[in-house]
């Protein structure tokens, strides 16, 4: 049995290196796609977005606020406007991403105890840019506002420490753990890569058995496996898993450390959950391949099944915010438990004891689909033997 499995593994490696449907997806695409994803987010942050200023105050304070806004990471003041219509037109045609308005007689109003409203307009049709600009603008304007309160209190003769306490009675210290600067590269790239590797594995393994039938090599494979479907599946699984490990090495030894601030080689925990993910993908893919004879239909099924994986996994938009039926759909994809475990093991660097639930879910894919693949393939092999006889 072991000898048969070994022979099938060697045979499968040869197929992976010779069939374009295998080597292009398993060996050529991973480095290309992974580096592309990492390079897209090489800038890490959204910087210097064009912003307009509508300054009706023309005062020292408005100029000071403008200077402080210009100093932020996301804001680059590129336009001056004189009215709201011009401002909205600029936002509408994309000349600027946001605008800030200082009202007339702003300084006088502050001195005369009249509340002043500084308006921040953003084009929230582009929500990422809008939120970042708002965050920076709010930080500046609220700090400036606090400064005004502080000055007023100090002028009444209050000691600075006490005045400071009154400006900010509750001091909130916020810690952004695991990705403190909200780097898009650090956050998005590992997730995109994990989902891409899942998709690649499934897109290839949906073809591993039906392609043998199509190319007429199933007979030879049957002989090599001594008529045992499990020998074939284990042999092929080992070959594909070893290629997945090569991709793991490429990603964790080169890409993550170089472009996503990850540690070299990942970790033992990451390797374990990645291996479980790949085993789940191989099992699911081979089950489809054992059931569906038409390679094109199998490929389409693989495509429809895997392409929504990233958005359904809850990586970007939380799963608790999606309808219940979509949540069920998310659970039939191995990437969902994997990415949950990935957050804990990769970002939070927690031990495997924190991800036993997710590991169990990944194993469930193997436990359910692998026997199914054996069953369907064995039936095919038996039929083949009968035909041969």
């Amino acid at each position: 049995m072991l000898r048969a499995i070994f022979k099938i593994t060697i045979r499968e490696w040869k197929r992976i290196f010779s069939l374009p449907e295998h080597y292009l997806v398993m060996l050529v695409l991973p480095p290309l796609l992974c580096f592309l994803y990492a390079y897209i987010y090489n800038g890490q942050f959204v910087k210097d977005q064009p912003v307009a200023i509508w300054d009706e105050a023309h005062s020292p304070l408005s100029r000071k606020f403008t200077f402080m806004l210009q100093e932020t990471e996301s804001i680059n003041i590129t336009q001056q406007v004189n009215n709201e219509a011009a401002l909205e037109k600029m936002i509408q045609d994309g000349t600027v991403a946001a605008a800030i308005h200082f009202p007339a007689r702003m300084d006088d109003h502050i001195k005369s105890r009249q509340p002043v409203y500084i308006t921040v307009y953003t084009n929230t049709a582009s929500v990422v840019t809008a939120k970042l600009i708002y965050k920076d603008a709010a930080k500046v304007l609220l700090t400036a506002g606090s400064g005004v309160i502080l000055q007023k209190l100090v002028k009444t003769g209050m000691p600075t420490g006490k005045a400071m306490a009154l400006v900010q009675p509750i001091k909130l210290s916020t810690y952004f753990l695991y990705n403190p600067r909200y780097s898009y590269q650090q956050y998005l790239v590992p997730g995109l890569i994990a989902v891409a590797l899942q998709m690649m594995m499934i897109m290839v393994t949906v073809l591993v058995l039906n392609m043998e039938v199509k190319k007429g090599t199933i007979g030879a494979l049957n002989i090599l496996a001594n008529g045992s479907a499990s020998n074939i599946l284990i042999g092929k699984t080992l070959a594909h898993l070893s290629i997945a490990w090569i991709n793991y090495i490429m990603v964790t030894f080169i890409l993550f450390p170089l472009m996503a601030a990850g540690q070299i080689g990942g970790s033992w925990g990451l390797f374990v959950i990645f291996t479980l993910l790949m085993l789940a993908c191989i099992s699911v893919g081979m089950t489809v391949s054992a059931i569906v004879d038409d390679v094109m239909v199998a490929c389409d099924l693989g495509l429809f099944y895997t392409s929504p994986a990233f958005v359904f996994s809850g990586y970007t938009f939380p799963r608790w915010g999606i309808p219940w039926y979509d949540q069920y759909y998310a659970w039939i994809m191995p990437s969902t438990p994997f990415l949950d475990a990935f957050f804990k093991v990769y970002f939070m660097q927690l031990p495997l004891s924190y991800v036993y639930k997710e590991m169990g879910q990944l194993l469930l894919f193997v436990i359910i689909t692998f026997p199914l693949a054996i069953l369907f393939l064995q039936r095919k092999l038996n039929k083949l033997r009968l035909q041969h006889v």
Binding site: I118, G145, L166, I170, S173, Y187, P323
Partner: protein, 391 residues
């Protein structure tokens, strides 16, 4: 002229027949767009995330801390989960039961009443972008509101009447006006782009798959012959089927999907229709050229399946074009999605007109000319190759 028209009709019928007889093309062109539109559409149907779990360890157990937590729990974004102490709160985050924790140490109220700063700590799991940033924003806002409340009380105690005390509490205020997506919701931002992307990708997959199938079966000379020997007629005759089909899908998405998903449409129907037609006219030669690069339909489907995310990510929709590295900006400029999404987003979401998008329209036209040239050259090459082989 009449002859060309007749050839185009023949090619249209040929394509319809080919699609009807091929399971994969049928799946990609007739089922996938509707299925994807439903799935992706429903995914963001709630549009905003709500009730992000936040563990709270309250060691102060004061009136102030209880009021603070009560207000926090009332916020749409937060769902307070009780924790026994700080380490229990941390453990809850590690287990994935919450997205962060808030710690209120003992003595906060006492400090605030003594006009000293009371420190509280918020830690959020920033590895998860959206929930953590929303939570941090909400808690910061609440802390500032509570601070303003304390100042208001102080000003009143100084003898100011309520109105004056109120004015003195917050002399500089921020008035935030998010335009075109007033709730700043992720769903409202992403859905229009996703629907357009579904149309693009299914069209490219189907058309490239069909050309690859023609190539695989050595039917390119027959395709050109059906077009009366004209490469251009062959290109547009084959493309007409996709043009009509996807224009119908676009109409369906812009009416039915927009209505059911409650996506606002602020522009003019004529403008968005022109943008879609121009976009499809650019995608058709791109799809034909891409299909001509693959030796089999299977390979075309397999490899083009991986183009969806990269195209979307470089298009400037989710990540600003200016923030892409320069070589990525070049790549982005070569993809029709980039100018199209710019036009489409500004018309649909901001209510802009075609006149306000002239540079992007010209960009799309330039790409149309470029891909027409590539498609014609590849058809000519394949025609020659396969004719030579058949001889």
């Amino acid at each position: 002229m009449f002859d060309s028209f007749r050839h185009i009709i023949r090619l249209f019928l040929r394509e319809a027949k080919m699609v009807a007889h091929d399971h994969s093309l049928l799946l990609t062109l007739l089922i996938a767009p509707l299925l994807y539109a439903f799935f992706y559409g429903s995914l963001y149907s709630y549009k905003v995330e709500e009730k992000v779990k936040l563990a709270v360890a309250d060691d102060d157990k004061s009136e102030l801390s209880r009021a603070f937590l009560q207000q926090l729990n009332k916020m749409q974004i937060a769902d307070v989960v009780g924790a026994v102490n700080l380490s229990d709160a941390q453990e809850k985050m590690y287990r994935g039961d919450c997205q962060g924790y808030l710690y209120i140490p003992d003595g906060v109220q006492k400090k605030v009443l003594a006009l000293q700063q009371g420190d509280i700590v918020l830690a959020v799991n920033a590895a998860r972008f959206l929930p953590s940033s929303e939570l941090a924003g909400a808690v910061t806002k609440l802390a500032m509101t509570v601070g303003a409340g304390v100042r208001l009380k102080y000003n009143e105690m100084q003898g100011l009447n309520t109105a004056m005390a109120m004015q003195e509490t917050q002399p500089v205020n921020l008035d935030y006006r998010p335009l075109y997506n007033t709730r700043s919701s992720y769903g409202a931002f992403l859905l229009p782009g996703l629907l357009a992307l579904i149309l693009q990708q299914t069209m490219l997959l189907g058309l490239a798959g069909s050309v690859a199938l023609d190539k695989q079966r050595r039917h390119i000379p027959e395709l050109v012959r059906t077009g009366g020997g004209s490469l251009s007629t062959a290109l547009w005759g084959k493309g007409l089927f996709y043009m009509i089909l996807f224009f119908c899908y676009a109409c369906f998405f812009m009416t039915v999907n927009y209505a059911t998903l409650d996506i606002p449409f602020r522009g003019r129907v004529f403008d968005v229709a022109v943008a879609f037609i121009l976009f499809f006219f650019t995608l058709i030669p791109l799809g034909v050229w891409l299909g001509s690069l693959f030796n089999s339909q299977l390979l075309a489907a397999q490899l083009l399946a991986f183009s969806t995310y990269p195209i979307f990510l470089v298009s400037g929709y989710a990540w600003p074009y200016e923030s892409l590295p320069v070589p990525m900006q070049w790549l982005s400029s070569m993809v029709p999605t980039t100018p199209f999404l710019h036009i489409y987003q500004s018309i649909v979401q901001s209510g802009a007109t075609l006149q306000q998008n002239v540079p992007s329209m010209l960009h799309l036209l330039a790409l149309w000319a470029f891909y027409v040239l590539l498609a014609l050259l590849s058809l000519r090459r394949l025609n020659k190759q396969q004719q030579a082989l058949s001889l």
